[in-house]
Symmetry: C2
Subunit: 338 residues, 2 copies
DNA sequence: ATGAAAGCGCTAACAA
DNA sequence: TTGTTAGCGCTTTCAT
C-alpha cells in the first residue's frame, strides 16, 4: 500500500510548477497565484500527498513536538495534569508526547534522549523530587516544572499551593474543635509532601498547638499505605481525634482501617484528604478533601512553556495555584470539647 | 547556551576522520579501529556531541517513535494499558508518544497527522468504539487495536475477554443463589459494553433465566452514573438481589446509592464490578470484582506492534486475555433461597 | 508570482 | 578499516 510515499516532487511534477511553489501552497503563503494554488491543491488531493513532518522538522530546526515526563501515567493527579497540558498544547498545533520515568536513571536517560536528540521543542517535567536527583535540566530546551518548588535557573514552574492545602486541611479540623491531629504524609523526598507538611505545622503552630512527631506517619500515596498508617497510629495509644491524609487514596485506605477497627468516621475520628479524586465523593463516608485543579495546572504549564519557547524571556515565572476546601461527611465537629 | 549545536561534522573535524567513521562509532559498528573509536569517543565527550534524532530519522526513514491514541489519559484502565505498552516499547529502544482524542474528529485528525506525516513508525489505538466511527485506519502504518473486537483488515488486536468477564460476574452471582440480577452497563456504543453484556446474558441463559430488560441500565463508566443507575433500579419496584456493574467506578457509585437508601450490601444486595482498580479493595464493603490485567494487555499490544512492524507478517493476530474473579465482601450467598 | 540553488545532520551505498 | 558520493523531503535564501 505504501510503496513509495508521494513527495513534494511528485506533486510539483504533476502540477508543472516548482517544489517551492508546492511548499508555499501547503504553508499557506499568500504570494501564490490563486489559480496555481487551486491547481496544486487539486493535485495534492489527487495524489493523496501529505507533507513529511520529519523532513519539515529537519529543515525548520524544530519538531512541533513537546514532551512531558512524569513518574507514572496511572496516578490520577498526574494524568489530569497531562490531560490539561495536552489540551493546551494541541490547541497551538503542537503534539504532546507523554512519557513516564518511574525511577531516576530512566528519567535522566529520557531527558537526555529527548532533548539531546532534538526530538522535542520543549519539555514539561511533572513532580520532580525535592532532593536534587531530578535536577538534571536540559540546556537549550525550554522547560517547565510542574508540581515542584521553583529551582534555580531559568526553568519556569507551576505548582499547586501545597503549603496552603496542608494548612487549609489543618485549619478546617481545628475549626471543628480538633486539637490532636495526626498526619499521613507522602514520600518524604517529594516537594509536595514537604509542603503539605509545612502547611500542617503552620496550621497547628498558628493556634499554639505543639505538634506531636509520633502522630506523623509516612506513606507512599497508595491506599494501602494509608490503611497501614492508621493501624500504626491507633496502635500508638496516643490520643488523636482527626487525621490529615496528604492525598485521597491514603485517606480512603485510612477509612477502611477505621472501619475494620470499629472506629467510626466521623463520630470517633475525622478524616481529611487532598486532591478531590472522582471517587472521593462516593466512598463511605464521602470524603472531606482539599480540591486541586490539576487540569488547569497542566494547561498553565503549557502556557508557560510556549511563553518560554517564544524566546526573549529571561525571568522565570513561578506560579502557585490556590486550593479549595470541599467539606463532605468524613469530618465532624468535636462534641466533647475538652 | 545552545548557539550552534555540535554536529557530526565538528566531531569529524576534531577527530580528523570522516563523518562516516563518526557515524559508525555512534552506531556501534564493529568495523572501526578500536583506537580510532576511542579517539572519537573522547572527542564526542569533549565536545558534548549528541546525535540529532531528527536527522537520523530522516535518513533512516523511520523515527523510533510509536504513538498511542486513547480516548483519555485519566481513566485508570487506559492509563494502565498505556503504562504497560510504554514499558514494552521502551525496552526495545523506542519511544511511546501517548496522546488522547476525546472525540471522533480529534481522533481522525490525530491519526491523520501522526501517520500521514511519517511522525511515527507504528500506532496503538486504545478502545475504539463499536460503531465504525473509529474505523479510520492508517494505511501503511502498522497498527494494533487494544480493547476492541477484531476489525476487518490486517490490524492486529488484543483485548480482554469481556464476554468471559461478564459471564464470570454473572455466574458468581448465580452460584451464590442470585436469580434476579440487574446490570449497569457502559456506553452502549462500546465493544466492551456489548461484550460484557453478552457475557451477562449468556450467564443467565445458561441457567435458564430469562433476562429482564428493565433491569439493565446504561451508565457512562463514571461513579455518578452508577450511583444514579441504582436509584433508578430501586425506583422500578422490580425485585432483584444483585447488581453487576460493568466497571468498578460505577459499582462504587452504586454502593453509595445503596448506603443512602438504607439497602445493605451485601445483606440486601450483592454487587460485582469489573477491573479491580486499586481502590476496589478499600471501599465499603470491599468490592468483589473481575480482575483485568491491563498492564499485560498493553505490553502484549506492543509486542504485536513490533511483530507487525518487522514486516513479513500477513495474518492479523487477535488475542483475548482471560479475566479472573476476585471475591471480596460486596457479594454474599442469598439466604432466603426461594 | 515563481524558480534555482543550497543545505538541515545524518546514513547508505559504493570505493579505496 | 576508512573515505567518498549521494541523497532522505522539505524550507530557505536569493534571483528572476
Amino acid at each position: 500500500m505504501d510503496r513509495t510515499r508521494v513527495t513534494i516532487r511528485d506533486v510539483a511534477a504533476q502540477a508543472v510548477v516548482s517544489r517551492q511553489t508546492i511548499s508555499r501552497v501547503i504553508n499557506g503563503s499568500d504570494l501564490v497565484n490563486p489559480e496555481t494554488a487551486a491547481r496544486v491543491h487539486a493535485v495534492i488531493a489527487e495524489l493523496g500527498y501529505r507533507p513529511n513532518a520529519i523532513a519539515r522538522s529537519m529543515s525548520r530546526g524544530r519538531t512541533q513536538i513537546l514532551a512531558c515526563i512524569s513518574p507514572n501515567l496511572t496516578d490520577h493527579t498526574f494524568a489530569s495534569i497531562i490531560q490539561g497540558a495536552e489540551g493546551a498544547v494541541r490547541a497551538q498545533g503542537y503534539f504532546l508526547m507523554s512519557t513516564s520515568a518511574p525511577d531516576v536513571p530512566t528519567f535522566i536517560a529520557l531527558v537526555h534522549e529527548l532533548t539531546g536528540g532534538a526530538y522535542v521543542d520543549g519539555l514539561v517535567i511533572v513532580n520532580p523530587f525535592a532532593d536534587d536527583r531530578y535536577c538534571y535540566f536540559p540546556s537549550g530546551t525550554p522547560t517547565v516544572l510542574v508540581g515542584a518548588r521553583p529551582r534555580e535557573g531559568v526553568a519556569d514552574s507551576v505548582a499547586l499551593d501545597d503549603v496552603a492545602a496542608g494548612r487549609m486541611a489543618t485549619e478546617h479540623l481545628f475549626s471543628f474543635g480538633h486539637r490532636r491531629i495526626a498526619m499521613i504524609t507522602g514520600p518524604a523526598a517529594e516537594d509536595c509532601t514537604q509542603d503539605r507538611s509545612s502547611g500542617y505545622r503552620a496550621g497547628l503552630c498558628a493556634h499554639g498547638i505543639v505538634d506531636e512527631p509520633s502522630l506523623v506517619i509516612e506513606g507512599d500515596w497508595s491506599p494501602l499505605s494509608g490503611y497501614r498508617a492508621l493501624y500504626e497510629l491507633l496502635a500508638l495509644d496516643i490520643p488523636f481525634s482527626a487525621v490529615f491524609a496528604q492525598n485521597d487514596q491514603m485517606a480512603i485506605g485510612a477509612l477502611r482501617a477505621a472501619r475494620e477497627l470499629g472506629v467510626r468516621v466521623p463520630g470517633d475520628l475525622s478524616v481529611v484528604g487532598v486532591d478531590d479524586i472522582p471517587l472521593a465523593a462516593h466512598v463511605d463516608p464521602p470524603l472531606t478533601t482539599v480540591h486541586q485543579d490539576f487540569t488547569a495546572l497542566g494547561a498553565e504549564a503549557a502556557r508557560l512553556l510556549f511563553r518560554s519557547m517564544s524566546g526573549n524571556v529571561t525571568v522565570a515565572e513561578h506560579i502557585r495555584w490556590a486550593p479549595k476546601l470541599i467539606v463532605r461527611a468524613s469530618t465532624q465537629r468535636l462534641e466533647w470539647l475538652g
